[in-house]
Symmetry: C2
Subunit: 381 residues, 2 copies
């Protein structure tokens, strides 16, 4: 397996946007190409992550840009779609099939007309009301019971991520909020108020250029390397499940640690899937940054802040940067590119060496996710 | 690149079906597993082709079967989705990432409520009426003008494919038809009557087990090998385009010839994308079986019949087997497995050595297809 690098990244500001899905994607890709002064003829293949945009979304984005006649793959893994697109590009380059790939993620959630995300017609749990806010609310309630914490404790995640997002020009929400504002916003699913949930109003797009590390210098003076790339699916086992333990994340992240030879203490930055505040707390634990049940202490002690032990969601995460499903996984890679090359501006983490990205997609069958995507990247010293 | 084999195949009868999308897929996969007496724990990864089934379709099929915790990839390339899923499995095995992959294709078109397939909201041509029947009708009209043939000549494709489908227990339409019936059916888009169009009423699913050839014997005494695997996208060029020439098919098929070292005269069987009768005529030509403009002569001379020079669509093709979009590409691979291992029953081609599968997906921007997938398989002597 060859080493695989990211040599360029671009995204558009997430949030409600008048543009079409095609235009969102085109803005991200054109910005990438112009920013890199890239000869688009060098792009050999494209992988696109999208969930709700209909058929051939990546072709519809690229055909107007002249990127045609190449293999184009549309991949879907719910919220892990962008990470899955990156994974496939990584794998094809690592194994020598291609040298240079474009990875894009795009989503126009406002086209769905607002409200909850569509539930597949035969998804029994979803059609009985066990939708995302409900699932995560149950996990939060159980966590509160087992570990003697409060809803306000979870709210600290929103305060941190909105503070980070206020430093990120690409974030949907760029205004810091107080814990009082979090707790006073309207109730969505007890114990979550609105400001403890990521918004489903985000449109957005992100694009990265990926290539064999041996050719990285041809495209850019700055780059990051891929140390691990993992996609897995849920176990969907019956019987009792510990709602306070993120099994799929544990399995995916620890597979990535094995692939890279790294351990939790090596990781300086994490972009993780804070769909709801409880999720970030659970992931501190399943990623091995603290013991099970100690996630609230972890944030209370400031360890997940930009200047903490591990900067978690310096971009603002899903709660602040926004969460246009297919775009999120690619935006996470873009954030790592900027952070690990020192381009992250006001939200820059100091001298990071390793960064980890993480998304989980589709809460089918209660607590199980349909897909989880994890990547680890390293700075090039 | 390692050699990659297909060691098992199954599909369900295409056509209107009361079952859910999940159940359709499960029936195909369970039949595959039982038929092979397969230990499902040996499946390392799954690739699923689907267009209109919503998010995580492959997870929804597999989770009830206990095939969980493995990487699962949902891929979409319109009508080429199933072929794209096979291509990705092939590539990952050929490069040594996995040894054993499940490929499934599933579609429940009747869930769309009938009528035309959905058009992406910003697809300018489609929203002005340049939908599939219209595009192919224009190609047919131009072909009639340029090469002095009639609508009835095209109808011979329907007669042949329905005759073949009558021998295929998996086909949606198993009744032979006469040229008079073809011409007297109701007009859809001049010059096409209904029986010159593939139906959009098909539900269906197909599944194949794919593995490194070096492990094929572990799974089955019979297998076929993959000689070429190509996915490409349209060129979408502006200006004058020859409506009578299938550029993307020409490019994909000839790339497959290059990969395999084979030439048109080596191919004994073709499963091709006869979405409309004209398409099959155009593909005889672009695949190199006859000269441009001589496609009608090719079928009139019986060269594309089961006992002809090259058996084209012995399964009945899209016109007779049916066309549940995501399932078609995988069903074509299943047909090659059966044909090249002598399991095709009444529609068996005599001693075939090489078979080619072909799908094109998504007629965005007039005559250009969004994707084309081509595979060549060989019998194991």
């Amino acid at each position: 397996m060859r080493s695989v690098s990211v040599v360029g990244a671009n995204m558009i500001k997430f949030g409600k946007n008048e543009k079409t899905l095609e235009e969102l994607g085109q803005e991200a890709v054109v910005g990438l190409i112009k920013g890199m002064n890239l000869d688009r003829e060098k792009i050999e293949v494209a992988y696109g992550g999208n969930v709700f945009g209909g058929h051939l979304p990546t072709q519809r984005v690229l055909k107007e840009l002249g990127m045609t006649g190449i293999p184009i793959f549309n991949v879907e893994n719910a919220c892990a779609s962008g990470a899955t697109a990156y994974h496939q590009a990584y794998q094809a380059i690592a194994t020598g099939v291609y040298d240079v790939a474009l990875v894009i993620g795009v989503e126009k959630l406002t086209a769905l007309g607002g409200g909850a995300l569509p539930i597949p017609p035969n998804e029994i749990e979803g059609n009985h009301g066990i939708v995302m806010p409900g699932v995560y609310a149950m996990r939060a309630k159980r966590y509160m019971h087992d570990f003697n914490v409060t809803a306000e404790d979870f709210g600290l995640v929103s305060v941190k991520n909105r503070a980070n997002g206020a430093l990120n020009p690409y974030a949907q929400f760029q205004k810091p909020i107080t814990i009082e504002e979090v707790m006073e916003s309207r109730l969505i699913a007890d114990p979550f108020t609105m400001l403890q949930c990521s918004a489903n109003s985000g449109d957005g797009a992100a694009a990265v250029l990926v290539c064999a590390t041996e050719r990285a210098k041809e495209f850019s003076d700055i780059s990051i390397k891929t140390e691990a790339s993992v996609i897995t699916s849920g176990l969907f086992k019956g019987g009792y499940r510990d709602l306070t333990w993120a099994e799929i994340t544990y399995r995916a992240v620890h597979t990535a640690y094995e692939q890279s030879g790294l351990k939790p203490s090596d990781i300086n930055i994490v972009e993780l899937h804070d769909a709801f505040t409880i999720a970030e707390i659970l992931y501190y634990e399943s990623m091995g940054f603290c013991e099970h049940g100690k996630g609230v202490d972890f944030i209370k002690d400031g360890k997940s802040y930009i200047d903490g032990q591990v900067a978690v969601n310096p971009s603002g995460g899903l709660i602040s940067r926004g969460h246009p499903l297919g775009a999120t996984g690619v935006a996470q890679v873009a954030e790592m590119f900027w952070q690990l090359t020192g381009q992250a501006g006001k939200r820059q983490v100091k001298n990071p060496r390793y960064g980890l990205t993480h998304v989980t997609g589709g809460g089918i069958s209660g607590v199980d996710n349909g897909a989880c995507g994890v990547h680890i990247f390293s700075a090039v010293s």
